[in-house]
Amino acid sequence: MQTYKNNWAKFCGEVLILAALFTLVQYLITTGLLNQYYQINLTSMCINIILSVSLNLINGFTGQLSLGHAGFMAVGAYSSVIFTNMMGQPFIIGLLAACIISALAGFIIGVPTLRLKGDYLAIATLAFGEIIRVILQNIDYVNGPAGILGITKMTTWPWLFGATILTIVVIVNLINSSYGRAIISVREDEIASELMGINTTAYKVLAFVIGAMFAGLAGALYAHFFYIIKPETFNFLKSFDILVMVVLGGLGSTTGAIIAAVFITALTAVLQSFPAIRMILYALILIIVMIYRPQGLMGNKELSRQTFGKIWSGRK
């Protein structure tokens, strides 16, 4: 089996690869080889990855359909801006605030809502997402519907890279553990899971809170790059955008969520001038995937070390 030393070696290998990737992109940005257009898309891609991987934890691994993920993104966005632009704190404080406050929102909404099942849960989360939007529209401190403009640009590649890797690592580590197995068992058969000694409500809330936290992180990163945020930005259509990624990638595959996020970002960029066509494509993706390939691109398989190992030894 995997010994600790074995893992340590693999871990160092992975760190090296990531460091190389980071440096490469940073170099491209600093020298200007990656121009503004690509930087915008890179930012969107990282934010989308964080959003889809975190939603996949709730919808895919825990099997609870949440349709209000954009609401947590909003909470994170607004919280971070309140701390940075309005209270003059450094970016890290803003990010931490975003994480903590959206996690809290996840808890407050999750505890009553996660007692519901299936479509009732989905509708309740949709409603809460909209309630968050309406509340933000009516708070004068953040300019209500007009939103906040002129947010300082603090989201840079190091932050994006760090946040994305953090999200992926935390969720992958969580899933590949006894806690992960417990979470998946909730999806597979809630009653059997309870009878195995697992407090299913607690684990649903756990997944929900962690998912909400990362959505908040994404929101904070978004706000400090795209410099404007309005309540309308985080409506249920945004939640559906994220849902499309998770469904396409495969409910229950982090790799799928990442691949789908990249694909959807590219699609959005290509179809920028045709928003209606993009939405029609999203609609078709949802319908066609659900009818013909409900497991999405990856099903619940992952591209893991094992797969890479097989590919590598295959080449040799």
Partner: protein
């Protein structure tokens, strides 16, 4: 006092529209346990059909409504056949996600084909007249909406209670397998349910156009959501519940925007939904039967 009754009448008109849409949600949920996310958009299509009937073909309002009802009935049956029937044995979540897809599709294909802008229902289609009754100013459009809605609901009740089709619909909602064994064509019954529900939504769409004058491709979203809350409030799957829920939501909304803060008007629907789901998810008329393991 007069002001209050005036508001009540507005509330009833709005409620009538919600009730008609809510009926479609409740009938479909009752028969295949699906929240038809796209239902509000069918109302929008109905409104557009009504609009084009009035403007392009110069028909009167009744013909426009019938045309809308016919076309949307067909649309509803088509959607069921293409998007929902393949998922009849899948999880409810899968069907819900598909319904979201259908909803987005209807909205954005309309934007793609007809553009996103508002369409204004011609004043000439329904010239406003006000009747003075006991000091109240009752508009003819209020009368039209409320009376038409009641007529349609009575027709629906008749179909459900007294026709073979209605009996089949009730049977399939209660126990699909048993219904098949009784020789009932489940596919046909489900199609008819979608047809009727969609027709009612289309009627509501035309009324909406008459009442509020403007429609756009995204018009169906908010009223659709509110009608859905109405259906849940009354007890999803229960037809009298949808009617009651619709009128209650209409009255509630009018009261809130009339006497309270109109900014929170839309939030009322969400608030009501959360409250019902947490306190009594089976709704006002719903029965609390436990789940068998």
């Amino acid at each position: 006092m007069l002001e209050f009754i005036q508001q009540m009448i507005n509330g009833l008109s709005l409620g009538a529209i919600y009730a008609l849409i809510a009926l479609g949600y409740t009938m479909v949920y009752g028969i295949i346990k699906l929240i038809n996310f796209a239902h509000g958009d069918i109302m929008m299509v109905g409104a557009f059909v009504g609009f084009f009937s009035l403007t392009l073909f110069g028909t009167n309002i009744i013909v426009a409504m019938v045309a809308a009802m016919l076309i949307c009935a067909i649309l509803g049956v088509l959607i069921e056949k293409v998007a929902y029937r393949p998922l009849r044995n899948s999880t409810r979540i899968a069907a819900l996600i598909t319904a979201i897809g259908v909803s987005l599709f209807l909205e954005y294909i309309t934007i793609f084909l007809l553009g996103p802008s508002q369409r204004v229902f011609p004043e000439s289609a329904f010239p406003i007249k006000a009747y003075n009754v006991a000091g109240l100013s009752i508009l003819n459009k209020d009368v039209f909406v409320i009376v038409s809605a009641v007529v349609l609901m009575l027709i629906l009740q008749y179909i459900i209670k007294w026709t073979k089709t209605g009996k089949a619909m009730r049977a399939v909602s209660l126990d699909q397998e048993a219904a098949v064994l009784m020789g009932i064509s489940v596919d046909k019954t489900i199609s008819i349910t979608f047809a009727i529900g969609s027709a009612l939504a289309a009627a509501a769409g035309v009324m909406y156009g008459v009442y509020y004058s403007t429609v756009n491709p995204l018009t169906g979203i908010i009223p659709g959501l509110k009608a859905f809350v109405a259906a849940v409030l009354g007890g999803i799957g229960i037809i009298p519940g949808a009617m009651a829920g619709g009128f209650i939501m209409g009255l509630l909304e009018t009261m809130v925007s009339g006497y309270g803060n109109s900014l929170y008007r839309d939030a009322v629907a969400f608030g009501v939904l959360i409250l019902i789901l947490l306190i009594k998810p089976t709704g006002l008329f719903g029965k609390d039967t436990g789940e068998k393991v």
